[in-house]
């Protein structure tokens, strides 16, 4: 019998007439595709189509093609499904994958369009007039107390107004990706970019490496079920603390960093021994209820000198009621992660079949909190595949305060979305701990690219605000009247709180 009956997904095609026989492809490939014997000889079965070799081939002699093997057509049994069955028949294991859900569920952002000013309401000139993007993350007061300033005007009373909020220069933050799932150079790039752009990065559940301490004012430190890297100093160091309950790519299940990714530096940062699996239990075993969550929120506040505490959950069916409980439990922000959110590793079956789209989650949570009169008590952070500033603007119009980007940030650093983060061999040096790969990301280079991305999206958001005639992003928040649905059924429009185009 053949070792496997699964055929490769891709063909590595080398134009040997152009090839310099320099061997750089073999040196660059993290997957071990290339043997080099006078000339590169590829093994198609190992290729992930990450284009590292294509990018670095000095002769531009390499291209990657889809393996055009014809399967008998079936709308029911796609080639991917057949391959998964073969793989599981060969191994008996749970299929793992990386990145976010790649299935063709409807993309609601692509069925929403924004308004623009014409004739009767003037737009704002994007080149000459200011449009404010500054955003405050955290609890807003129920009311503000004002007093006379003695000159016929009024001023805020001392201590009134927005306190204990984090000022963001733009409503974009980096989503949690742990050191361990990504490399230290990625973490440094994110931390430096967050500092330069006036936003936040997030440690994920991997602790805070000492090299990031200088940027700690721009870091959210996470407290997840494994409590990796959590000690009193860690809690005091960050700008805010986040309790991670769930992740859009894998709602309801825990994390599992395999022992081979836990080298000395990762082990020191997580404060666990080298080489053992880092298992994050599925639930926090001290949180089985909203009351328990409240207890943890306030213990984190007690231990950190009352820093803002947020709670990250995956968007699931009952997300509005859960978010309401989270806000009532005292969270300063609720982080909603939609079902297209990325992951360093998750069972494919979980990633592709659990959770709901972020667009729906933002709309129903915002509405629920407004209906209950507690929307001011917490900010909403939305994530789970924000792919452009268009998604960003639509997310804010649906009701989010801030969006978080993870996959987009990795793409800025060279990621080609090959969905192989879980292998630990990322050729782009992102989701790996192998030193020969991680050194491919220079934090200075990475920080510049990430800062560029955030600045570019911010400028685009300002353009959109100008077209809408708004001079502050605050005015767009929850302004669903400025959205219309295209090709959405009436019930979806109702749930999203938007009218169909034409109404």
């Amino acid at each position: 019998m053949p070792q496997t009956i699964i055929q490769p997904e891709f063909n590595v095609v080398i134009d040997y007439d152009k090839c310099h026989k320099c061997g750089r492809c073999a040196q660059q490939c993290g997957w071990g595709v290339y043997d080099f014997n006078e000339r590169p000889i590829p093994d198609d079965t190992k290729c992930k189509a990450c284009h590292r070799c294509v990018t670095y081939c000095p002769a531009r002699a390499i291209t990657i093609r889809k393996h055009e093997l014809a399967y008998r057509d079936s709308d029911n049994w796609s080639p991917q499904l057949r391959r998964a069955v073969w793989k599981q028949a060969e191994t008996g294991g749970v299929m793992l994958t990386g990145m976010g859900n790649d299935k063709s569920y409807v993309h609601l952002f692509d069925h929403l369009v924004l308004d623009a000013c014409q004739v009767t309401n003037p737009s704002i000139d994007p080149l000459r007039e200011p449009r404010e993007l500054r955003t405050y993350l955290g609890r807003k007061p129920d009311s503000v107390e004002v007093e006379s300033d003695g000159e016929g005007g009024f001023r805020l009373q001392e201590g009134a107004g927005v306190v204990n909020n984090i000022e963001l220069a733009t409503p974009i933050i980096f989503s949690p990706m742990s050191y361990g799932s990504v490399s230290l150079n990625v973490h440094k790039s994110l931390a430096m970019a967050a500092t330069r752009a006036g936003i936040l990065m997030n440690t994920g559940e991997g602790g805070l490496h000492a090299d990031l301490f200088p940027y700690a004012d721009h870091v959210i430190v996470q407290c997840a079920s494994g409590r990796f890297g959590v000690d009193p100093e860690y809690l005091r160091r960050g700008a805010a603390i986040e309790i991670k309950i769930g992740q859009g790519a894998k709602p309801g299940i825990g994390g599992h960093l395999p022992g081979e990714k836990i080298d000395r530096e990762v082990s020191t940062t997580r404060m666990i021994p080298q080489g053992t699996d880092a298992l994050s239990p599925a639930p926090h075993h001290d949180i089985y209820s909203i009351e328990d969550l409240r207890q943890l929120i306030y213990s984190l506040k007690e231990a950190s000198g009352y820093k803002p505490v947020g709670v990250k959950i995956a968007a699931v069916h009952n997300v509005a009621a859960i978010a309401s409980g989270i806000v009532r439990a005292g969270a300063d922000y609720v982080y909603l992660d939609g079902f297209r959110g990325g992951t360093g590793a998750a069972p494919t079956i979980i990633r592709d079949n659990l959770g709901i789209p972020i667009e729906v989650a933002i709309a129903v949570v915002d509405q629920r909190l407004r209906d209950e009169g507690i929307r001011n008590q917490a900010s909403i952070v939305a994530a789970g595949s924000i792919r452009s500033s268009g998604d960003l603007a639509k997310a804010i119009a649906l009701g989010a305060d801030v969006v978080a980007i993870g996959t987009a940030a990795l793409i800025a650093l060279g990621c080609h979305v090959c969905q192989s983060c879980h292998t630990g061999s990322c050729s782009w040096g992102l989701t790996t701990q192998k030193p020969e790969l991680t050194r491919r990301v220079d934090p200075e280079w990475g920080a510049e690219r990430l800062t560029n991305l955030v600045n570019a999206w911010s400028h685009e958001l300002q353009e959109i605000l100008g077209a809408l005639g708004l001079n502050a992003v605050e005015s767009l928040r929850g302004s669903r009247e400025r959205l219309r649905g295209v090709g959405l059924d009436a019930q979806t429009c109702e749930i999203l709180g938007v009218k169909p185009a034409g109404r």
């Binding site: 793989k87 599981q88 191994t91 294991g93 749970v94 299929m95 793992l96 129920d142 009311s143 407290c223 079920s225 494994g226 409590r227 959590v230 000690d231 009193p232 100093e233 809690l235 599992h256 395999p258 022992g259 082990s267 404060m271 666990i272 021994p273 080489g275 053992t276 699996d277 298992l279 239990p281 075993h285 001290d286 207890q295 306030y298 213990s299 984190l300 007690e302 231990a303 950190s304 009532r328 005292g330 069972p347 008590q377 879980h422 292998t423």
Partner: protein, 274 residues
């Protein structure tokens, strides 16, 4: 809830918004905790520690939460008279807490260092994710005790419970030493531990005085009887424990101890395909 602050000025969750009165005697500070909201009590304790107090005595404690939480100062001792509330010594980093009474849930949750001694029983979720320090509970403990205890380099947490425990004792354990004696229990008919003992264990060691049934033990554990080397390491820990509660270490060691250790540091390494 914090929003109740706006309901009436000076009232917080039904408590009057007031700091407890400090009675100072050298580097000892005594507070009467009766009718004091936890936030003010803990703020007062932190202020006194920052001001140089070495011994804090809390009288009439009646379920106030987070006592000792996040305290990092070494050489500081907090004495709790009464019933300590949830999350006692959570995230604690080096202080010592002694409770003369019972403690509720979450004792030493995610504790990093220090020592906690409870002269009584304790509730659920003790030592969750605890990385360092020592916890001695004189009597019985509840469910989910020692879940995901871990160790790192010099930090090896130790927890000894004098009574009996319920289900999930040492579940997901990743490091450290858990000891369950079953001696000072108010539940004569109960087995020493509940179900799912050490389930998912991938580090550390659990000792149970006497024997446990096979069906109680997680399949990730190897079961042994503590040998001379184990007992030599345990003896100073148990001597310390016995000294705290006026017990005889020889009586504790008169019965053999069952030892549970993980069969693998990577119990789920073969579950997945890449």
């Amino acid at each position: 809830m914090p929003q109740s602050q706006t309901v009436a000025k000076g009232v917080i969750e039904g408590y009057l918004e007031r700091m407890p009165e400090a009675v100072r005697d050298g580097d000892t500070v005594t507070f009467d905790a009766a009718s004091i909201y936890y936030k003010h009590l803990n703020e007062a304790v932190r202020d006194e520690i920052a001001g140089g107090a070495k011994r804090i005595v809390l009288k009439n404690v009646n379920g106030q939460r987070y006592i000792g939480t996040g305290i990092r100062e070494r050489g500081v001792k907090i004495e709790v008279h009464g019933c300590a509330g949830n999350d006692l010594a959570m995230f604690m980093g080096g202080a010592e807490v002694e409770v003369f009474g019972n403690a509720q849930d979450g004792v030493s949750n995610t504790m990093d260092d220090g020592k906690v001694v409870v002269h009584g029983d304790a509730g659920d979720v003790l030592g969750y994710g605890m990385r360092g320090g020592t916890v001695f509970i004189e009597g019985d403990v509840g469910y989910r005790v020692g879940i995901h205890m871990k160790a790192f380099e010099g930090k090896v947490p130790v927890m000894v419970c004098g009574g009996k425990a319920r289900d999930f004792f040492g579940e997901y354990m990743a490091g450290g030493t858990l000891v369950l004696l079953g001696m000072n229990s108010q539940f004569d008919e109960q087995p020493v531990a509940g179900d799912f003992l050490g389930t998912g264990m991938h580090g550390g060691e659990i000792y149970v005085r006497g024997t446990v049934e096979e069906w109680q033990i997680g399949k990730e554990c190897g079961v042994f009887t503590a040998d001379e080397d184990d007992l030599a390491r345990l003896r100073p820990i148990l001597e310390d424990f016995c000294a705290a509660f006026d017990m005889d270490v020889e009586a504790v060691l008169a019965e053999p101890l069952t030892k549970l250790v993980p069969m693998s540091h990577r119990p789920y390494g073969k579950l997945y395909v890449y």
